[in-house]
């Protein structure tokens, strides 16, 4: 069997403060209380503020999660002084360039942008490596204001704004099909373009994209028309726009733990020899923008849920250096496992560790739900990572690996503060992949476990939860390679 390796990862944040109004919660609240919109606009962050937000710097790899423990909360009050929009693991992209990429990768020209707005983005776009000459051609000159207004007033297009300035619109994909209304088209186009951004960064060059043979989507979007709502395969659309000309693909659906499922299945495809290089991609969730904005406004905070997060992971064959995804120790939450926190933790953490012959303390770090607590706590949703690490610590106490008094130290040592935007599937473990890649190669870690849960019950088809875990190991050849 070929050993599947974690080759590289890119994580992106597309800062889209003017799309927050189209998040599910803001849209409903603004419809009920139109005066909220102005208040929300006043609480919007600038691109510079979003870049300097300490958790965002951790997300793109410019600092490590444990740095956050030394920064007084709320973190937006203590911006990073040496913040940069580009990091070793990814990039934070401004709204204008992002919307241009979205328009340039929209084959049906449903997302229209104003010519002057496009003009304002040209200089910025020309300095990026991920926006090509072909994209400039596809973007075109734009749609005049008079035509934008006509599309909005007579054809029900969704207006796009920069604060209160009309800068574009999104047309309905079909005049009668609710599955293709403008809101859903915008949701799906931004899921696609944010994933394209991550996969283009992962590829680096158009030539490198040719090496990828299979692309697996793990996002939460539903692509399709009224006869196959959720028909899917955004993965192939992303591959088409990310220079992966030799790839085919498909989507894996499993709520927030879909990235873990996709990584394990992708690793299995490589291990079987069927494909040499598999990319797992996930686009951002428009619906989740501003999900907890009321708590932020109530506490005098900026609206922090203003970014679309996206991920691209490359899984390939053993190169003697890259960390190995251990398919022998995949943790699974079976139908009969039960849905209590302890039952889930035992299935995802204990069972695979026992199979691998390791104790809980033998793993260097655990990555789980990494939601930023500054986003969730103001709305009363608690500190999700901390709650999950306490469950893990209680397992260690039960197994007598630590004492009850050692639980706080255990949480600090094996866990980490949450640093991911509340973008569902993206927040579930995978934001730590870049940090893990470094600690398992040039650092001193040997094993990192990624475990994630999925809220299947939200779809009203079952009351079950889901979950999947995997362990990434230091490649045993890497030390020899470093000596050379």
């Amino acid at each position: 069997m070929v050993q599947p390796c974690l080759k590289s990862i890119k994580l992106c944040l597309s800062h889209v403060p003017n799309l927050v109004r189209y998040g599910s919660k803001p849209e409903r609240e603004i419809a009920a209380h139109p005066e909220l919109l102005e208040e929300m606009l006043r609480a919007s962050r600038s691109f510079e503020d979003a870049c300097a937000y300490p958790p965002n710097q951790v997300f793109i790899g410019n600092s490590v999660p444990e740095d956050l423990a030394g920064i007084e909360r709320p973190w937006h009050s203590n911006p990073s002084v040496d913040a940069h929009s580009m990091g070793s693991d990814g990039e934070i992209v401004d709204e204008g360039p992002f919307l241009c990429l979205t328009a340039a990768t929209d084959p049906f020209n449903l997302l229209r942008l104003d010519p002057q707005y496009i003009e304002r983005q040209r200089e910025s776009l020309s300095t990026t490596e991920w926006f090509t000459e072909r994209d400039f051609h596809a973007l075109g000159e734009g749609t005049p204001q008079s035509e934008l207004k006509e599309l909005i007033e007579s054809r029900g297009a969704l207006p796009l704004f920069d604060k209160n300035e009309l800068i574009g619109c999104v047309e309905n994909g079909h005049s009668e099909d609710l599955s293709l209304n403008a809101q859903i088209v915008l949701e799906n186009l931004t899921a696609k373009s944010s994933a394209v951004l991550a996969l283009r960064l992962l590829n680096g060059t158009e030539e490198s994209g040719a090496d990828i043979e299979y692309v697996m989507g793990c996002g939460e979007e539903a692509i399709g028309d009224r006869y196959q709502r959720g028909g899917g395969n955004l993965a192939k659309a992303v591959a088409e726009n990310s220079w992966c000309l030799n790839a085919t693909g498909s989507d894996i659906k499993a709520f927030c733990c879909a990235p873990n499922h996709a990584i394990v299945i992708g690793a299995a495809l490589v291990a079987s020899g069927l494909f040499k290089n598999v990319a797992v991609i996930g686009g951002g969730s428009l619906a989740k923008l501003g999900m907890k904005f009321q708590g932020h406004l109530r506490n005098g905070m900026p609206i922090l849920e203003d970014v679309l997060a996206s991920v691209a992971v490359l899984i390939g064959e053993d190169d003697g250096f890259s960390p190995i995804i251990d398919l022998e120790s995949v943790g699974r939450h079976t139908v009969s496992a039960g849905s209590s926190p302890q039952a889930i933790a035992e299935a995802l953490i204990l069972e695979p560790l026992i199979r691998k012959g390791l104790g809980i303390l033998d793993v260097d770090r655990y990555a789980t739900e990494l939601h930023d607590p500054d986003v969730t706590e103001p709305q009363g949703s608690g500190n999700t990572p901390l709650n999950n690490y306490r469950v893990l610590a209680s397992l260690a106490v039960q197994r007598k690996e630590i004492t009850r008094e050692e639980m706080p130290d255990f949480v600090d040592r094996f866990g980490m503060p949450g640093f991911s935007p509340t973008q569902g599937h993206i927040a579930s473990a995978v934001p730590f992949l870049g940090h893990a890649l470094r600690s398992l190669t040039i650092g001193d870690a040997n094993h990192v476990m990624f475990y994630a849960k999925g809220s299947l019950f939200l779809g009203r088809m079952t009351e079950m939860s889901d979950g999947l875990s995997f362990i990434v190991d230091r490649n045993t050849n890497s030390l020899n390679r470093l000596k050379d």
């Binding site: 927030c256 849905s339 209590s340 926190p341 739900e369 939601h371 969730t376 949703s381 608690g382 999700t384 709650n387 999950n388 509340t422 569902g424 927040a427 849960k453 809220s455 019950f457 939200l458 009351e463 939860s465």
Partner: protein
């Protein structure tokens, strides 16, 4: 301590906490009647 016996209960569980059906099972054992139970995800 709240007396649950004979009461009607709405059980709202949480993904990272106790699931709704588990809460319902407990209140039933205490003599309460479950009107509805479900689990929510708050992230």
């Amino acid at each position: 301590m709240t007396e649950l016996n004979g009461k009607c209960i709405i059980a709202i569980g949480e993904r990272d906490g106790i699931p709704g059906p588990a809460i319902a099972e407990i209140v039933r054992s205490a003599g309460a009647r479950e009107v509805v139970s479900f689990t929510q995800c708050f992230v």
